[in-house]
Protein backbone atom coordinates (compact mmCIF):
# COMPACT_ATOMS: atom_id res chain seq x y z
CA UNK A 1 0.00 0.00 0.00
CA UNK A 2 2.92 2.29 0.80
CA UNK A 3 4.24 1.97 -2.73
CA UNK A 4 0.84 2.86 -4.21
CA UNK A 5 0.71 5.96 -1.99
CA UNK A 6 4.25 6.96 -2.87
CA UNK A 7 3.54 6.68 -6.56
CA UNK A 8 0.33 8.71 -6.34
CA UNK A 9 2.01 11.32 -4.16
CA UNK A 10 4.67 11.80 -6.81
CA UNK A 11 2.32 11.72 -9.77
CA UNK A 12 -1.42 11.51 -9.18
CA UNK A 13 -1.93 11.08 -12.90
CA UNK A 14 -0.19 7.71 -13.01
CA UNK A 15 -2.82 5.61 -14.75
CA UNK A 16 -4.57 2.69 -13.11
CA UNK A 17 -3.10 0.48 -15.82
CA UNK A 18 0.44 1.59 -15.01
CA UNK A 19 -0.16 1.17 -11.30
CA UNK A 20 -1.56 -2.30 -11.90
CA UNK A 21 1.51 -3.36 -13.92
CA UNK A 22 3.98 -1.95 -11.45
CA UNK A 23 2.25 -3.20 -8.30
CA UNK A 24 1.41 -6.52 -9.94
CA UNK A 25 -2.30 -6.35 -9.18
CA UNK A 26 -5.40 -6.10 -11.37
CA UNK A 27 -6.80 -2.70 -12.29
CA UNK A 28 -9.92 -3.60 -10.33
CA UNK A 29 -7.85 -4.23 -7.19
CA UNK A 30 -6.03 -0.93 -7.65
CA UNK A 31 -9.33 0.95 -7.98
CA UNK A 32 -10.57 -0.77 -4.84
CA UNK A 33 -7.40 0.09 -2.89
CA UNK A 34 -7.58 3.72 -3.94
CA UNK A 35 -11.26 3.99 -3.06
CA UNK A 36 -10.55 2.62 0.39
CA UNK A 37 -7.61 4.99 0.95
CA UNK A 38 -9.79 7.89 -0.08
CA UNK A 39 -12.57 6.78 2.23
CA UNK A 40 -10.17 6.43 5.16
CA UNK A 41 -8.86 9.93 4.38
CA UNK A 42 -5.35 8.62 3.93
CA UNK A 43 -5.50 10.08 0.45
CA UNK A 44 -6.80 13.59 1.10
CA UNK A 45 -6.86 15.17 -2.32
CA UNK A 46 -5.27 15.16 -5.74
CA UNK A 47 -3.65 18.38 -6.82
CA UNK A 48 -1.20 19.64 -9.37
CA UNK A 49 1.82 21.67 -8.38
CA UNK A 50 1.51 24.80 -10.50
CA UNK A 51 3.95 27.57 -11.16
CA UNK A 52 1.35 30.37 -11.00
CA UNK A 53 3.96 33.02 -11.45
CA UNK A 54 4.90 31.55 -14.80
CA UNK A 55 1.21 31.44 -15.72
CA UNK A 56 1.07 35.16 -15.06
CA UNK A 57 -0.53 35.44 -11.64
CA UNK A 58 0.90 37.80 -9.05
CA UNK A 59 -0.22 36.22 -5.83
CA UNK A 60 1.43 37.06 -2.54
CA UNK A 61 2.41 34.37 -0.10
CA UNK A 62 3.10 35.18 3.52
CA UNK A 63 4.39 33.03 6.34
CA UNK A 64 2.98 34.17 9.67
CA UNK A 65 4.39 33.20 13.02
CA UNK A 66 1.69 33.33 15.68
CA UNK A 67 2.02 33.23 19.45
CA UNK A 68 -0.95 32.02 21.45
CA UNK A 69 -2.16 31.75 24.99
CA UNK A 70 -3.19 28.12 25.30
CA UNK A 71 -6.70 27.51 26.57
CA UNK A 72 -7.82 25.19 29.28
CA UNK A 73 -8.96 21.72 28.06
CA UNK A 74 -8.36 22.34 24.36
CA UNK A 75 -4.82 23.77 24.38
CA UNK A 76 -3.99 25.25 21.01
CA UNK A 77 -6.43 23.19 18.97
CA UNK A 78 -9.48 25.43 19.28
CA UNK A 79 -7.61 28.56 18.22
CA UNK A 80 -5.88 26.67 15.42
CA UNK A 81 -9.28 25.63 14.14
CA UNK A 82 -10.53 29.23 14.16
CA UNK A 83 -7.54 30.04 11.98
CA UNK A 84 -7.52 27.11 9.57
CA UNK A 85 -11.21 27.52 8.75
CA UNK A 86 -10.38 30.65 6.75
CA UNK A 87 -10.09 29.95 3.01
CA UNK A 88 -7.16 32.36 2.75
CA UNK A 89 -5.14 30.11 5.05
CA UNK A 90 -3.36 27.41 3.04
CA UNK A 91 -1.36 25.69 5.76
CA UNK A 92 -1.29 25.61 9.56
CA UNK A 93 1.34 23.85 11.67
CA UNK A 94 1.77 23.72 15.44
CA UNK A 95 5.45 24.38 16.13
CA UNK A 96 8.00 23.96 18.84
CA UNK A 97 10.29 26.89 19.52
CA UNK A 98 9.78 30.61 19.84
CA UNK A 99 6.29 30.71 18.37
CA UNK A 100 3.29 28.38 18.36
CA UNK A 101 1.58 28.33 14.98
CA UNK A 102 3.09 28.65 11.55
CA UNK A 103 0.46 29.81 9.09
CA UNK A 104 0.84 30.19 5.35
CA UNK A 105 -1.49 32.62 3.66
CA UNK A 106 -2.06 33.46 0.05
CA UNK A 107 -3.61 36.73 -1.08
CA UNK A 108 -3.94 38.92 -4.15
CA UNK A 109 -1.69 41.70 -2.86
CA UNK A 110 0.52 42.74 0.01
CA UNK A 111 -2.27 44.94 1.30
CA UNK A 112 -4.76 42.14 1.03
CA UNK A 113 -2.62 39.84 3.20
CA UNK A 114 -1.70 42.59 5.67
CA UNK A 115 -5.37 43.40 6.11
CA UNK A 116 -6.27 39.80 6.69
CA UNK A 117 -3.59 39.42 9.37
CA UNK A 118 -4.47 42.67 11.10
CA UNK A 119 -8.26 42.35 10.99
CA UNK A 120 -8.90 38.63 11.14
CA UNK A 121 -5.95 36.79 12.66
CA UNK A 122 -4.61 39.11 15.32
CA UNK A 123 -8.07 39.79 16.64
CA UNK A 124 -8.81 36.18 17.46
CA UNK A 125 -9.00 35.66 21.18
CA UNK A 126 -5.86 33.95 22.47
CA UNK A 127 -3.59 35.29 19.71
CA UNK A 128 -0.98 37.37 21.52
CA UNK A 129 1.44 38.22 18.73
CA UNK A 130 1.92 37.82 14.96
CA UNK A 131 4.99 38.28 12.79
CA UNK A 132 4.52 38.28 9.01
CA UNK A 133 7.18 37.32 6.48
CA UNK A 134 6.45 37.82 2.82
CA UNK A 135 7.84 35.30 0.42
CA UNK A 136 10.00 36.72 -2.35
CA UNK A 137 10.86 33.73 -4.48
CA UNK A 138 10.20 30.01 -4.49
CA UNK A 139 13.17 27.83 -5.42
CA UNK A 140 11.78 24.46 -4.49
CA UNK A 141 8.31 23.35 -3.46
CA UNK A 142 7.16 19.96 -2.21
CA UNK A 143 10.34 18.35 -3.47
CA UNK A 144 10.12 19.94 -6.92
CA UNK A 145 12.76 22.41 -8.08
CA UNK A 146 10.85 25.33 -9.64
CA UNK A 147 13.22 26.28 -12.43
CA UNK A 148 15.05 23.05 -12.98
CA UNK A 149 17.45 23.40 -15.83
CA UNK A 150 18.94 19.93 -15.61
CA UNK A 151 18.30 18.30 -18.95
CA UNK A 152 18.71 14.77 -20.18
CA UNK A 153 22.07 15.05 -21.91
CA UNK A 154 22.53 11.36 -22.56
CA UNK A 155 23.32 9.92 -25.97
CA UNK A 156 20.18 8.45 -27.52
CA UNK A 157 21.75 5.05 -27.91
CA UNK A 158 24.70 3.73 -25.93
CA UNK A 159 26.07 0.30 -25.04
Amino acid sequence: MRELLEMLERNARTSTGELASILQKSEYEIEKDIARLEKEKIILSYGALINWEKFGDDTVTAIIEINLTPQREVGFDAIAEKIFRFDEVRTVYLMSGSFDLLVIIEGKSLKDVANFVAKRLSTIEGVTQTRSHFMLKAYKKDGVIIDDEEKDGRLVVSP
Binding site: S21, Q24, R154, V156, V157, S158, P159
Partner: protein, 389 residues
Protein backbone atom coordinates in the same frame (compact mmCIF):
# COMPACT_ATOMS: atom_id res chain seq x y z
CA UNK B 1 43.61 10.01 -48.57
CA UNK B 2 42.83 6.45 -47.56
CA UNK B 3 45.17 5.37 -44.82
CA UNK B 4 43.41 2.19 -43.73
CA UNK B 5 46.31 0.15 -45.10
CA UNK B 6 48.47 1.73 -42.41
CA UNK B 7 46.33 0.49 -39.53
CA UNK B 8 47.22 -2.39 -37.29
CA UNK B 9 45.83 -5.73 -38.36
CA UNK B 10 44.47 -6.30 -34.90
CA UNK B 11 42.44 -3.11 -34.96
CA UNK B 12 41.24 -3.88 -38.46
CA UNK B 13 40.03 -7.27 -37.32
CA UNK B 14 37.61 -5.74 -34.82
CA UNK B 15 34.15 -4.83 -36.08
CA UNK B 16 32.80 -1.45 -35.00
CA UNK B 17 30.07 -1.56 -32.37
CA UNK B 18 26.65 -2.50 -33.82
CA UNK B 19 25.07 0.29 -31.86
CA UNK B 20 26.52 3.14 -33.87
CA UNK B 21 24.08 2.83 -36.77
CA UNK B 22 21.03 3.27 -34.55
CA UNK B 23 22.64 6.14 -32.79
CA UNK B 24 23.07 7.94 -36.12
CA UNK B 25 19.44 7.38 -37.15
CA UNK B 26 17.99 8.30 -33.74
CA UNK B 27 20.14 11.40 -33.30
CA UNK B 28 18.63 12.99 -36.40
CA UNK B 29 15.03 12.21 -35.57
CA UNK B 30 12.43 14.29 -33.73
CA UNK B 31 10.16 12.93 -31.03
CA UNK B 32 12.21 9.81 -30.40
CA UNK B 33 11.64 7.78 -27.27
CA UNK B 34 14.84 5.98 -26.55
CA UNK B 35 14.96 2.61 -24.88
CA UNK B 36 18.48 2.35 -26.23
CA UNK B 37 20.36 4.11 -23.48
CA UNK B 38 22.79 2.07 -21.42
CA UNK B 39 23.04 4.49 -18.53
CA UNK B 40 20.84 5.82 -15.70
CA UNK B 41 18.50 8.71 -16.44
CA UNK B 42 19.17 10.12 -12.99
CA UNK B 43 21.89 12.66 -12.48
CA UNK B 44 24.52 11.92 -9.85
CA UNK B 45 23.09 12.55 -6.35
CA UNK B 46 23.78 16.09 -5.23
CA UNK B 47 25.79 15.11 -2.18
CA UNK B 48 28.35 13.49 -4.49
CA UNK B 49 28.47 16.44 -6.87
CA UNK B 50 28.72 18.88 -3.98
CA UNK B 51 31.62 17.05 -2.36
CA UNK B 52 33.60 17.33 -5.60
CA UNK B 53 32.87 21.02 -5.96
CA UNK B 54 34.21 21.45 -2.43
CA UNK B 55 37.31 19.47 -3.32
CA UNK B 56 37.92 21.60 -6.39
CA UNK B 57 37.49 24.78 -4.36
CA UNK B 58 40.12 23.54 -1.98
CA UNK B 59 42.47 22.96 -4.87
CA UNK B 60 42.47 19.18 -5.00
CA UNK B 61 43.60 18.94 -8.60
CA UNK B 62 46.78 16.85 -8.48
CA UNK B 63 47.70 13.36 -9.60
CA UNK B 64 46.92 10.66 -7.10
CA UNK B 65 48.74 7.41 -6.34
CA UNK B 66 48.63 5.10 -9.36
CA UNK B 67 46.41 2.70 -7.46
CA UNK B 68 44.01 5.48 -6.44
CA UNK B 69 43.72 7.56 -3.29
CA UNK B 70 44.15 5.65 -0.01
CA UNK B 71 40.72 6.90 1.17
CA UNK B 72 38.94 5.48 -1.84
CA UNK B 73 40.72 2.11 -1.67
CA UNK B 74 39.90 1.98 2.03
CA UNK B 75 36.22 2.67 1.32
CA UNK B 76 36.11 0.04 -1.43
CA UNK B 77 37.69 -2.48 0.93
CA UNK B 78 35.15 -1.60 3.65
CA UNK B 79 32.32 -1.96 1.18
CA UNK B 80 33.27 -5.56 0.30
CA UNK B 81 33.75 -6.37 3.96
CA UNK B 82 30.28 -5.18 4.91
CA UNK B 83 28.46 -6.30 1.80
CA UNK B 84 30.06 -9.65 0.96
CA UNK B 85 32.31 -10.49 3.93
CA UNK B 86 35.24 -10.32 1.57
CA UNK B 87 38.60 -8.95 2.68
CA UNK B 88 40.63 -7.00 0.16
CA UNK B 89 43.83 -5.33 1.31
CA UNK B 90 43.50 -1.72 0.16
CA UNK B 91 47.28 -1.45 -0.38
CA UNK B 92 47.82 -4.48 -2.59
CA UNK B 93 44.51 -5.89 -3.77
CA UNK B 94 42.59 -2.90 -5.12
CA UNK B 95 43.23 -0.72 -8.16
CA UNK B 96 41.12 2.33 -9.00
CA UNK B 97 40.58 2.69 -12.74
CA UNK B 98 39.00 4.96 -15.32
CA UNK B 99 35.67 3.15 -15.31
CA UNK B 100 35.19 -0.59 -15.12
CA UNK B 101 35.94 -0.46 -18.86
CA UNK B 102 39.59 0.31 -18.23
CA UNK B 103 39.66 -2.36 -15.53
CA UNK B 104 38.41 -4.93 -18.07
CA UNK B 105 41.11 -3.94 -20.55
CA UNK B 106 43.83 -4.13 -17.89
CA UNK B 107 42.61 -7.44 -16.51
CA UNK B 108 42.69 -9.12 -19.90
CA UNK B 109 46.01 -7.59 -20.87
CA UNK B 110 47.58 -8.57 -17.55
CA UNK B 111 46.89 -12.30 -17.95
CA UNK B 112 46.66 -13.10 -21.66
CA UNK B 113 49.54 -14.46 -23.73
CA UNK B 114 49.15 -14.51 -27.52
CA UNK B 115 46.78 -17.27 -28.54
CA UNK B 116 45.28 -17.82 -25.07
CA UNK B 117 41.57 -18.49 -25.26
CA UNK B 118 38.96 -16.50 -23.39
CA UNK B 119 35.54 -18.02 -22.75
CA UNK B 120 32.84 -15.36 -23.12
CA UNK B 121 29.22 -16.28 -22.46
CA UNK B 122 26.96 -14.31 -24.80
CA UNK B 123 24.95 -12.13 -25.15
CA UNK B 124 27.23 -9.84 -23.20
CA UNK B 125 28.57 -6.33 -23.01
CA UNK B 126 30.18 -5.19 -26.24
CA UNK B 127 33.73 -4.72 -24.97
CA UNK B 128 34.64 -8.22 -23.77
CA UNK B 129 35.44 -9.67 -27.20
CA UNK B 130 37.27 -6.58 -28.37
CA UNK B 131 39.39 -6.39 -25.21
CA UNK B 132 40.36 -10.05 -25.60
CA UNK B 133 41.39 -9.51 -29.21
CA UNK B 134 43.33 -6.32 -28.46
CA UNK B 135 45.24 -8.23 -25.78
CA UNK B 136 46.24 -10.88 -28.34
CA UNK B 137 43.81 -13.43 -27.00
CA UNK B 138 41.22 -15.49 -28.82
CA UNK B 139 37.64 -14.86 -27.72
CA UNK B 140 35.51 -18.00 -27.60
CA UNK B 141 31.83 -17.03 -27.47
CA UNK B 142 29.50 -19.42 -25.70
CA UNK B 143 25.77 -18.96 -26.23
CA UNK B 144 23.32 -18.75 -23.37
CA UNK B 145 19.63 -19.39 -23.89
CA UNK B 146 16.37 -17.68 -23.04
CA UNK B 147 15.00 -21.07 -21.85
CA UNK B 148 17.65 -20.97 -19.13
CA UNK B 149 17.09 -17.26 -18.48
CA UNK B 150 20.45 -16.50 -20.11
CA UNK B 151 22.43 -18.03 -17.27
CA UNK B 152 25.64 -19.83 -18.14
CA UNK B 153 26.21 -23.45 -17.10
CA UNK B 154 29.32 -25.66 -17.03
CA UNK B 155 27.59 -27.99 -19.51
CA UNK B 156 27.44 -25.15 -22.02
CA UNK B 157 31.05 -24.12 -21.40
CA UNK B 158 32.64 -27.57 -21.30
CA UNK B 159 32.65 -28.29 -25.08
CA UNK B 160 34.64 -25.10 -25.69
CA UNK B 161 37.47 -25.82 -23.27
CA UNK B 162 40.86 -26.52 -24.91
CA UNK B 163 44.39 -26.66 -23.47
CA UNK B 164 44.66 -22.99 -24.39
CA UNK B 165 41.65 -21.86 -22.39
CA UNK B 166 42.86 -19.50 -19.70
CA UNK B 167 40.15 -17.03 -18.80
CA UNK B 168 36.39 -16.97 -18.31
CA UNK B 169 34.65 -13.58 -18.41
CA UNK B 170 31.26 -13.38 -16.71
CA UNK B 171 29.06 -10.33 -16.43
CA UNK B 172 26.08 -10.71 -14.09
CA UNK B 173 23.69 -8.95 -13.58
CA UNK B 174 23.89 -9.00 -17.33
CA UNK B 175 23.81 -6.32 -19.97
CA UNK B 176 21.86 -6.83 -22.28
CA UNK B 177 19.61 -9.60 -20.90
CA UNK B 178 18.95 -8.54 -17.30
CA UNK B 179 19.86 -12.07 -16.20
CA UNK B 180 21.38 -12.82 -12.83
CA UNK B 181 23.14 -15.90 -11.48
CA UNK B 182 22.01 -17.44 -8.21
CA UNK B 183 24.53 -18.69 -5.67
CA UNK B 184 23.90 -22.28 -6.86
CA UNK B 185 24.51 -21.27 -10.48
CA UNK B 186 27.76 -19.55 -9.53
CA UNK B 187 28.98 -22.43 -7.36
CA UNK B 188 28.79 -24.67 -10.43
CA UNK B 189 30.84 -22.15 -12.39
CA UNK B 190 33.32 -22.02 -9.50
CA UNK B 191 33.78 -25.80 -9.70
CA UNK B 192 34.23 -25.53 -13.44
CA UNK B 193 36.86 -22.78 -13.04
CA UNK B 194 38.72 -24.86 -10.48
CA UNK B 195 38.59 -27.99 -12.60
CA UNK B 196 40.21 -26.22 -15.55
CA UNK B 197 42.30 -23.82 -13.47
CA UNK B 198 40.77 -20.75 -15.10
CA UNK B 199 41.05 -17.12 -14.16
CA UNK B 200 37.57 -15.64 -13.81
CA UNK B 201 37.09 -11.99 -14.67
CA UNK B 202 33.79 -11.04 -13.10
CA UNK B 203 32.24 -7.79 -14.27
CA UNK B 204 29.84 -6.85 -11.48
CA UNK B 205 29.11 -3.28 -12.50
CA UNK B 206 25.35 -3.89 -12.13
CA UNK B 207 25.76 -5.67 -8.79
CA UNK B 208 23.69 -3.13 -6.86
CA UNK B 209 20.86 -3.29 -9.36
CA UNK B 210 19.07 -6.52 -8.50
CA UNK B 211 15.38 -6.94 -7.81
CA UNK B 212 13.81 -9.29 -5.34
CA UNK B 213 17.12 -10.74 -4.24
CA UNK B 214 20.64 -9.69 -3.42
CA UNK B 215 23.66 -9.92 -5.64
CA UNK B 216 26.09 -12.79 -5.18
CA UNK B 217 29.69 -11.74 -5.65
CA UNK B 218 31.71 -14.40 -7.48
CA UNK B 219 34.90 -13.64 -5.54
CA UNK B 220 33.05 -14.24 -2.26
CA UNK B 221 32.43 -17.90 -3.09
CA UNK B 222 34.67 -20.40 -1.28
CA UNK B 223 38.20 -20.51 -2.73
CA UNK B 224 37.34 -18.09 -5.52
CA UNK B 225 38.96 -14.87 -4.30
CA UNK B 226 42.45 -15.68 -5.61
CA UNK B 227 41.12 -16.91 -8.92
CA UNK B 228 38.90 -13.93 -9.60
CA UNK B 229 39.57 -10.47 -10.92
CA UNK B 230 36.54 -8.58 -9.68
CA UNK B 231 35.52 -5.50 -11.66
CA UNK B 232 33.12 -2.87 -10.47
CA UNK B 233 32.50 0.85 -10.63
CA UNK B 234 30.21 3.69 -9.75
CA UNK B 235 28.53 4.38 -13.08
CA UNK B 236 25.38 2.34 -12.75
CA UNK B 237 24.71 2.23 -9.01
CA UNK B 238 25.35 5.92 -8.37
CA UNK B 239 24.45 7.35 -11.78
CA UNK B 240 28.07 8.40 -12.38
CA UNK B 241 28.69 7.21 -15.94
CA UNK B 242 30.40 10.35 -17.19
CA UNK B 243 32.77 10.46 -14.25
CA UNK B 244 34.60 7.42 -15.55
CA UNK B 245 35.46 5.80 -12.27
CA UNK B 246 35.72 2.10 -11.48
CA UNK B 247 38.03 -0.42 -9.89
CA UNK B 248 39.44 -3.92 -9.89
CA UNK B 249 40.04 -6.14 -6.88
CA UNK B 250 41.89 -9.41 -6.69
CA UNK B 251 45.06 -11.29 -5.89
CA UNK B 252 48.07 -8.94 -5.41
CA UNK B 253 49.84 -10.49 -8.41
CA UNK B 254 46.94 -9.70 -10.73
CA UNK B 255 46.39 -6.25 -9.30
CA UNK B 256 50.13 -5.53 -9.35
CA UNK B 257 50.37 -6.47 -13.03
CA UNK B 258 47.33 -4.37 -13.88
CA UNK B 259 48.78 -1.46 -11.92
CA UNK B 260 51.94 -1.72 -14.00
CA UNK B 261 49.95 -1.22 -17.24
CA UNK B 262 47.76 1.42 -15.65
CA UNK B 263 50.71 3.50 -14.41
CA UNK B 264 52.21 3.69 -17.89
CA UNK B 265 49.02 4.18 -19.88
CA UNK B 266 46.69 6.07 -17.54
CA UNK B 267 48.80 7.13 -14.56
CA UNK B 268 45.78 7.47 -12.30
CA UNK B 269 42.01 7.93 -12.39
CA UNK B 270 40.86 11.58 -12.27
CA UNK B 271 41.13 12.91 -8.73
CA UNK B 272 37.74 14.64 -8.84
CA UNK B 273 36.03 11.40 -9.79
CA UNK B 274 37.86 9.64 -6.98
CA UNK B 275 36.57 12.19 -4.49
CA UNK B 276 33.05 11.64 -5.80
CA UNK B 277 33.46 7.89 -5.43
CA UNK B 278 34.51 8.26 -1.78
CA UNK B 279 31.40 10.31 -1.09
CA UNK B 280 29.25 7.74 -2.93
CA UNK B 281 30.52 4.93 -0.72
CA UNK B 282 30.28 6.96 2.47
CA UNK B 283 26.92 8.66 1.99
CA UNK B 284 25.41 7.55 -1.30
CA UNK B 285 23.64 4.35 -0.32
CA UNK B 286 20.22 5.84 0.46
CA UNK B 287 20.13 7.71 -2.85
CA UNK B 288 21.19 4.58 -4.66
CA UNK B 289 18.43 2.55 -3.00
CA UNK B 290 15.84 5.10 -4.10
CA UNK B 291 17.02 4.82 -7.68
CA UNK B 292 16.96 1.03 -7.51
CA UNK B 293 13.37 1.13 -6.19
CA UNK B 294 12.42 3.32 -9.14
CA UNK B 295 14.10 0.98 -11.65
CA UNK B 296 12.17 -1.87 -10.10
CA UNK B 297 8.84 -0.11 -10.76
CA UNK B 298 9.78 0.52 -14.36
CA UNK B 299 10.97 -3.06 -14.73
CA UNK B 300 7.57 -4.37 -13.67
CA UNK B 301 5.79 -1.95 -15.99
CA UNK B 302 7.83 -2.85 -19.05
CA UNK B 303 7.82 -6.59 -18.36
CA UNK B 304 4.05 -6.56 -17.98
CA UNK B 305 3.76 -4.50 -21.17
CA UNK B 306 5.74 -6.96 -23.28
CA UNK B 307 3.87 -9.90 -21.83
CA UNK B 308 0.54 -8.33 -22.73
CA UNK B 309 1.76 -7.80 -26.28
CA UNK B 310 2.39 -11.51 -26.46
CA UNK B 311 6.15 -11.26 -26.95
CA UNK B 312 8.16 -14.05 -25.40
CA UNK B 313 10.18 -12.47 -22.68
CA UNK B 314 11.82 -13.57 -19.47
CA UNK B 315 11.56 -11.49 -16.35
CA UNK B 316 14.82 -9.58 -15.88
CA UNK B 317 16.15 -9.74 -12.33
CA UNK B 318 19.02 -7.29 -12.58
CA UNK B 319 20.59 -4.31 -14.39
CA UNK B 320 18.05 -2.09 -16.20
CA UNK B 321 17.46 -4.01 -19.40
CA UNK B 322 14.80 -6.31 -20.74
CA UNK B 323 15.52 -8.60 -23.67
CA UNK B 324 12.30 -9.69 -25.39
CA UNK B 325 12.27 -12.33 -28.11
CA UNK B 326 10.90 -10.70 -31.25
CA UNK B 327 11.49 -13.65 -33.61
CA UNK B 328 7.72 -14.33 -33.78
CA UNK B 329 7.33 -11.07 -35.73
CA UNK B 330 9.30 -12.47 -38.64
CA UNK B 331 11.86 -9.69 -38.45
CA UNK B 332 15.51 -10.17 -37.61
CA UNK B 333 16.61 -8.14 -34.62
CA UNK B 334 18.31 -5.52 -36.84
CA UNK B 335 15.24 -5.22 -39.10
CA UNK B 336 12.98 -4.92 -36.10
CA UNK B 337 15.09 -2.15 -34.53
CA UNK B 338 15.38 -0.31 -37.83
CA UNK B 339 11.68 -0.56 -38.76
CA UNK B 340 10.62 0.42 -35.26
CA UNK B 341 12.67 3.56 -35.20
CA UNK B 342 11.55 4.53 -38.71
CA UNK B 343 7.85 3.81 -38.20
CA UNK B 344 7.29 4.56 -34.53
CA UNK B 345 10.35 6.52 -33.46
CA UNK B 346 11.30 4.19 -30.66
CA UNK B 347 15.02 3.48 -30.39
CA UNK B 348 16.29 0.20 -29.03
CA UNK B 349 19.30 -1.97 -29.70
CA UNK B 350 19.26 -5.21 -31.74
CA UNK B 351 20.33 -8.22 -29.72
CA UNK B 352 23.03 -9.12 -32.22
CA UNK B 353 25.05 -6.10 -31.07
CA UNK B 354 25.80 -8.23 -28.00
CA UNK B 355 26.81 -11.39 -29.79
CA UNK B 356 25.34 -13.88 -32.26
CA UNK B 357 23.16 -15.50 -29.63
CA UNK B 358 21.34 -12.19 -29.25
CA UNK B 359 19.69 -12.85 -32.63
CA UNK B 360 15.91 -12.66 -32.50
CA UNK B 361 16.00 -10.37 -29.48
CA UNK B 362 16.17 -6.65 -28.84
CA UNK B 363 17.55 -4.86 -25.81
CA UNK B 364 15.28 -2.29 -24.18
CA UNK B 365 16.63 -0.14 -21.42
CA UNK B 366 14.14 0.93 -18.79
CA UNK B 367 16.39 3.65 -17.40
CA UNK B 368 13.79 6.17 -18.47
CA UNK B 369 10.72 7.81 -16.91
CA UNK B 370 7.51 5.82 -16.41
CA UNK B 371 5.40 7.95 -18.76
CA UNK B 372 7.99 7.50 -21.51
CA UNK B 373 8.05 3.76 -21.00
CA UNK B 374 4.25 3.66 -21.27
CA UNK B 375 4.35 5.70 -24.46
CA UNK B 376 7.10 3.53 -25.94
CA UNK B 377 5.13 0.37 -25.11
CA UNK B 378 2.06 1.83 -26.82
CA UNK B 379 4.12 2.62 -29.91
CA UNK B 380 5.67 -0.84 -29.99
CA UNK B 381 2.22 -2.40 -29.69
CA UNK B 382 1.05 -0.23 -32.54
CA UNK B 383 4.03 -1.31 -34.60
CA UNK B 384 3.28 -4.98 -33.97
CA UNK B 385 -0.32 -4.49 -35.10
CA UNK B 386 0.31 -2.42 -38.20
CA UNK B 387 3.61 -3.59 -39.52
CA UNK B 388 3.42 -7.35 -39.49
CA UNK B 389 6.04 -8.73 -41.77
Amino acid sequence: MNRSDKLSNTVNSIAPSGIRKFFDIAAKMENVISLGVGEPDFVTPWTIRESCIYGLERGRTSYTANRGTPELREEISNYYKRRHELNYNPDTEILVTVGASEAMDLAVRAVINPGDEVLIPEPCYVSYQACAILAGGVPVPVSTKIENEFRITPEELEPFVTPKTKVLIIGYPNNPTGAIMTREDLLKIADFAEKHDLIVISDEIYGELTYGGTHECFAALPEMKDRTILLNGFSKAYAMTGWRIGYAAGNPDFIGAMTKIHQYTMLCAPITAQMGAVEALRHGEKYMKKMVAEYDRRRKLIYDGFQKMGLKCFEPKGAFYIFPDISSTGYTSEEFAEELIMKEHVALVPGTAFGKSGAGHVRCSYATAIDKISEALARIENFLKNHKK
